[in-house]
Symmetry: C2
Subunit: 365 residues, 2 copies
Amino acid sequence: MDRVNIIYRVERNANIRERAKAIAIEQSVEVPLAAITKQRVLDEIVGRVERIEDLPDGAHRVTISLATETIGGETAQLMSMIYGNISLAEDVQILDVDLPDDLLAAFPGPRFGIDGLRKLTQAHGRPLTCTALKPQGLDSDELADLAYRLALGGLDMIKDDHGITDQAYSPFAERVPKIQAAVARANRETGGHCAYVPSVAGGPRKLREHCRIVKEEGVDAVLLIPMIIGLPVFQEMTAEWLDVPVLAHPGFGGAQRMAPPLFFGKLLRLFGADAVIFVNHLGRFTWPRATCEATAANLTGAMRHVKPALPVPAGGMTLDRVPDMKQSYGEDAMFLIGGGLLTARDNLLARCREFVEMVKQPVAA
Amino acid sequence: MDRVNIIYRVERNANIRERAKAIAIEQSVEVPLAAITKQRVLDEIVGRVERIEDLPDGAHRVTISLATETIGGETAQLMSMIYGNISLAEDVQILDVDLPDDLLAAFPGPRFGIDGLRKLTQAHGRPLTCTALKPQGLDSDELADLAYRLALGGLDMIKDDHGITDQAYSPFAERVPKIQAAVARANRETGGHCAYVPSVAGGPRKLREHCRIVKEEGVDAVLLIPMIIGLPVFQEMTAEWLDVPVLAHPGFGGAQRMAPPLFFGKLLRLFGADAVIFVNHLGRFTWPRATCEATAANLTGAMRHVKPALPVPAGGMTLDRVPDMKQSYGEDAMFLIGGGLLTARDNLLARCREFVEMVKQPVAA
């Protein structure tokens, strides 16, 4: 029977063997072994401590294996088994998961992936460019006007700020058709292929309703916030509800206890994100460069049948960061600059064009 | 216009005023103020720093206010606004949220609450008793037999272990009718009112299907894992999909850095949990006693129209912890002991009865 290996960081512990055993039990049968009367449960279902290694800072790297049969290829149960109860323990962070073939096979992953996004935007041989409609508080007409001007600037994708959802001042059903029309008008004028990416969020009822509008309006792609709408909902939407590419937003993804390369790089791709936004180093957030690059590597590396997803480094990026981002991420990325374009105010069009040109230039050797 | 106050813990920062302003911007307009051309957005939508206090350990307690109009009474947007992007910042944890009346009014909260759970189980004037069916890996008949024996022991509620979902060895559609029938049989024999609480988890399709089975089988209450299924889904299910009480399981709830009294005490109640399981001090987890008691206080305290929800301290509890739990939580709680009963093996019935009797005894003065 296949087993999934889960790697945890456990804070320094004089009894690390006992602690590791306790974690293996917590994440599987969740009872003292003395309470188990069935031999098959003891043999196969109880988690196994596979390895304990010491980390340079005195903490431990503990590998636990679980029977994939306890997960059954289900998103909710996968999250429960790999980091359900033990997420409540202050000394345990999750670093990585090694998914065996039978578990991988249950997840289709991105439907479009990098190739699909390039086909949609006709952007080849270079990183894609993206910006965000901001700030919330603008009405639908103001957002549509802003989107029109950004699309004229030659960007590949324009997403809603994730804070723009269905507020009274720019309700989804009113905003999306207007912005979609504005971007289409700009595309007709420029001959470009800019895609508008509205933010879809809420409970199942609202998600269904907004997916219907997306389809009716011929919207090209959508933005979802997996941790807020729920990972099983996200997975079901990418696999079954939507037939356009999905950008994943990192909101509520509080990375400190789940290693970003695992959560943003591996799991969101597994659950079907075609592109994943994450915070780049040297922006408003303080992730180390190595963490960001490892996240991108997990998004694009080989993973059986699962298509590569596009890394989207973001979070306070400005034009002067473009050369560095090209060094870090190469061609297969999308650079997202929001406020760094909008601060140009009346010079917005020129700043957009400058951004687009910088991205098109080859990386200096 | 009403505003919601959000209180963050921010790690020691020499420029805390600037940091607080940056947090207020991140959680509202998410652009540099220079990019905002509309006066109403600057006046009302941009987050405000209301207060900065120093904490004894050198960190800061920062209060930010946001216009409730940016939230619109929607669960997903509430989470996004109070702890969306800023959850990605290593120096910011969320401590509390002060919800104004217009926002509170949008959330019905628990439909049954403490009174509803007491009515269901006919347990009055004392804490309720609860246990969990474990371990996963047992088949449906074995789980039903275990449930029968536990119900004979006089417990008020028997929940599925949250790890028991829809695995091949005990599929939901097979397991739930069998366990429900076994508990009903025990109730007929004892004259008791023990309620079986199956775990419902998955994406929307599976959730719908399992809710249908719950209804058809006349199940009395269900267990949901809000952080795993998604908070907006959880809220919609409690308000619209289900007509039985809901126990919230804390799984995956530590992946965020949210103060437990806020998340487990205030938000899950707001989103409709009738009872909330959280980890008690001195069990397998290491939350301080004060954190646990503050969580319980938030679950039961006054909150306008929102009914009190039942605190369920758990996580490695044993019979000898009962007197201490009674001191901490008083009557309005449910004590959940899982493994601590199951380790009795052949003496399970006697151990259950002992637990029930201990809970019924008055607290020593």
